[in-house]
């Protein structure tokens, strides 16, 4: 296959896996403020499985690759993060399908499908102080940039800034879903670990795109 879709999908999944493993302690510390502290550990152990089986993941097309990755994540990341993150990759893969090339518009559609999957699986929405509170503003910015004619590098830079601002803003929110919600008002004042993870991952993806350029 000569298009950008599969290499792009491989690159994004690999960055997410490596970043999740590298930030195990940081994500775990954020989660332990109001959650049960297992977020960093669960994510790292699950993404280690993705990398262990990396060469064997079906690469028929970008959609299949993302769906297979999602299945590993769903079944190997512990707690509720596995099903939530796994669903996101499954839904994004379903939209990517067999297309050899993906436009910015299509990537936004994949992210929208991932967001809808997370909402359905977690029975949560924007404002509940979850990863959605960074993922949705990040996607909105990406869409604005692409529709304004930006290239991938510029759009990703802007999206990373939007994700970071949104993650920081979760500090003022009260958790309504996930284990952090058990602490109610006490959750105010600390940022959401999932939202910060989205910000860190978007920043890493953006940095990689700046250095490697628009090969995909």
């Amino acid at each position: 296959m000569s298009g950008n879709a599969l290499p792009g999908a491989e690159r994004v999944v690999r960055i997410i896996a490596e970043t999740a493993i590298a930030n195990e302690k940081y994500f775990g510390d954020l989660d332990s403020v109001v959650g049960d502290g297992d977020f960093g550990y669960s994510l790292a152990r699950g993404f280690e499985k993705v990398l262990e089986g990396w060469d064997d993941i079906d690469r028929t097309d970008a959609g299949t690759f993302l769906k297979r990755s999602g299945m590993i994540i769903a079944s190997r990341v512990g707690g509720t993060s596995g099903p939530l993150w796994g669903t996101a990759f499954l839904r994004a893969g379903a939209v990517a399908g067999t297309a050899p090339d993906l436009t910015g518009e299509q990537v936004v559609a994949m992210l929208r499908a991932a967001i809808e999957g997370i909402k359905a699986r977690g029975r949560s929405d924007v404002g509940d102080k979850t990863l959605l509170d960074a993922l949705v503003p990040m996607t909105d910015r990406l869409e604005q940039e692409f529709s304004g004619g930006a290239d991938a590098e510029k759009a990703l830079r802007a999206a990373a800034v939007a994700a970071r601002e949104a993650a920081d803003a979760t500090g003022a929110m009260v958790a309504k879903r996930g284990r952090a919600s058990y602490t109610g008002e006490r959750s105010r004042g600390s940022v959401d670990a999932g939202a910060v993870a989205v910000a860190v991952l978007t920043e890493r993806i953006s940095e990689t795109w700046q250095t490697r350029g628009a090969t995909s």
């Binding site: 769906k67 999602g70 299945m71 769903a74 079944s75 499954l90 379903a94 699986r121």
Partner: protein, 331 residues
């Protein structure tokens, strides 16, 4: 606590091997996914019916696999939902042209595993649907659930969708029937003792010598309240009151009545409970048209019983009367 056990880690696997060996030619055991399936499944002219839950509730559900009942069951470890990849692999193995119906007792862990398993199977092109069973009237939410729990009443859903699928009903029709039966089925359970998981080796909770847990769940999780034990008839009166008023069942109704043992109660005691329930329903002009007295959905060795009522109409009655052959046979 004395148990028939080898290595507790192999408890579920050894039980499943036993089920398979006792039913040669009829049931197949797939160890990788704790899967017990009919040897003649899947068939493209039939919706495949699958249920999974934790183990420890036998005969539910592995021993309800057979003609006119389940096509397969994929339990998890004792009192643990099956991992989602068990559900996914099971759905793929049972995929038929008419689809796979996944029955789920309403527990949070089971729902998550089945929702994900279904999504993963769908990504592979398998048609799958989920039907959630929530017949327990004891509490609105519980330790392990949002919404009501799914307990012994799931046997009536299994029987009805099993019969309908055997007769060639398509997925929409099977779903309609399953939801209809769930809607007219109500259950309440009472525990006299706690149960002892093999890997733990000690009782899961404490219940005083003169106490009962009224509205207990099938893992011993709390129900409505701890009460002092009373005469059997008085306990049945309390159970009937909780169940009859919930739907409510009314004068003139025809019902199926199930007295289900929770694992550690003699069958004789179950018939003692049945006797009083049957008479009290007659007093309310509610006719027991079908009766079920046995162990169906248990909590390991817990002493106790649950009472289930199903409001019957001609359609449900016909489906309950249809022939079935499960691994657990009474002859």
């Amino acid at each position: 606590m004395k148990k028939f056990v080898n290595d507790p880690k192999n408890y579920v696997a050894e039980m499943l091997e036993g089920v398979a060996l006792a039913n040669p030619g009829k049931l197949k055991y797939v160890p990788a996914y704790n899967l017990i399936m009919r040897t003649d499944a899947p068939r493209d002219d039939k919706v495949s019916i699958v249920q999974g839950s934790g183990s420890g509730h036998e005969p539910a559900h592995v021993m309800a696999v057979g003609r006119g009942m389940l096509d397969a069951a994929c339990p998890g470890d004792v009192f643990a939902a099956p991992p989602m990849d068990y559900v996914y692999e099971t759905a793929k193995l049972l995929a038929s042209a008419k689809g796979v119906l996944l029955l789920v007792n309403n527990y949070t862990g089971d729902r998550m595993a089945f929702d994900m398993g279904k999504e993963m199977a769908e990504a592979d092109g398998v048609r799958a649907e989920i039907l959630t069973i929530d017949d327990d009237v004891a509490v609105q939410d519980s330790t392990y659930t949002v919404g009501r729990r799914g307990v012994a009443g799931n046997f009536f859903v299994i029987k009805a969708v099993g019969a309908a699928s055997e007769q060639g009903a398509d997925m929409d029709e099977v779903l309609r029937i399953g939801r209809k039966v769930n809607d007219v089925t109500r259950t309440i359970g009472v525990a006299l003792t706690a149960c002892t998981p093999p890997a733990k080796g000690s009782p899961l909770f404490e219940l005083g010598a003169d106490e009962i847990e009224f509205g207990v769940g099938i893992h011993g999780e709390p129900g409505r309240e701890r009460r002092k034990i009373k005469d059997a008839d008085a306990i049945v009166d309390d159970m009937l009151e909780a169940v009859v008023t919930d739907l409510p069942y009314q004068s003139g109704d025809r019902v199926a009545l199930m007295i289900n043992g929770l694992g550690g109660t003699p069958i004789s005691e179950l018939y003692l409970l049945y006797r009083h329930a049957h008479r009290r329903l007659a007093d309310r002009n509610i006719t027991v048209a079908r009766s079920y007295v046995n162990e169906y959905c248990t909590s390991l060795d817990m002493a106790g019983a649950s009472l289930t009522l199903v409001r019957l109409d001609d359609e449900i009655t016909t489906l309950l009367e249809a022939p079935a052959e499960a691994a657990v046979r009474i002859f």
